[in-house]
Symmetry: C2
Subunit: 143 residues, 2 copies
Amino acid sequence: MTEEAKKLRDYEARLREAGVRITRPRRAILQILSETADHPDAMEIFQRALSIDPTISLSTVYRTMKLLEDKGEIQRHAFAGGPSRFEQAAGEHHDHLIDLDTGDVIEFHSERIEQLQDEIARRLGYDIVYHRLELYGRKRKSR
Amino acid sequence: MTEEAKKLRDYEARLREAGVRITRPRRAILQILSETADHPDAMEIFQRALSIDPTISLSTVYRTMKLLEDKGEIQRHAFAGGPSRFEQAAGEHHDHLIDLDTGDVIEFHSERIEQLQDEIARRLGYDIVYHRLELYGRKRKSR
DNA sequence: ATCCTTGCAAAGCCTTTGCACCTGG
DNA sequence: CCAGGTGCAAAGGCTTTGCAAGGAT
């Protein structure tokens, strides 16, 4: 069984358990999400889903994204100017570098930074529950 | 001279030097920004500015915010659902630790983290224009 | 005098919603 | 069966833009 098929099966199982009906449009969206590794926006998900279920509507994509967000299955990222982008909540933590010119989102992870964050919080008397680190930048031109 | 008046004078000086005309609406907006310590959105800035310049328009607020963002005077923060909120870039940089129980915001700064961020961006081929680091946590109970 | 800036209204994006028809369990 | 989900189209926020009039240098 492929990795994607496993993810898809888990999605459906968890949602069904939470009392969510697995309809044809939802199955299509879940399949897209299980196959994708990037940060698509609603329109991109919609267009990819069309090839699986040609009758799906953009409204349903939006409604399903809200549902999945509430269930903790995906995360919504808001960026200035453009539409929200969605990402599977599963998987290990990472942060984001956003290209100011293109809107591209690059993932990265630094254990050292995570450690420093913990240290700072501890010094201030806090335990971190979660955090958000976003770098906004431009492709370096020279050199 | 008050702190706000100083900030206002600096705003105008820097902008004028950059070839920006200091018009009545812009002066009103700069005054609002120099007096404010929170993160207002465009509509809030517009309404506060009305009491200084009753003829100002919302479009001008938006245009001015874009201008100030380009000049590096303010930062724009995007939130899912709601409007963008703006914050003065002036002063030394700091990050935020948000208390999940009380909503308290604690400012902190770590030069080491900043260095690591630059390093990561450089490795990915980018120059950081600005960043956003927010820790969400709870007061540590034991020990 | 020149060119930038403004106010207004209209348009543009992204997202949500009302409604009548479907459908999954 | 029937509560919940769907597609469609219309409405809703927030933001940008075209244009002619106004203002800063």
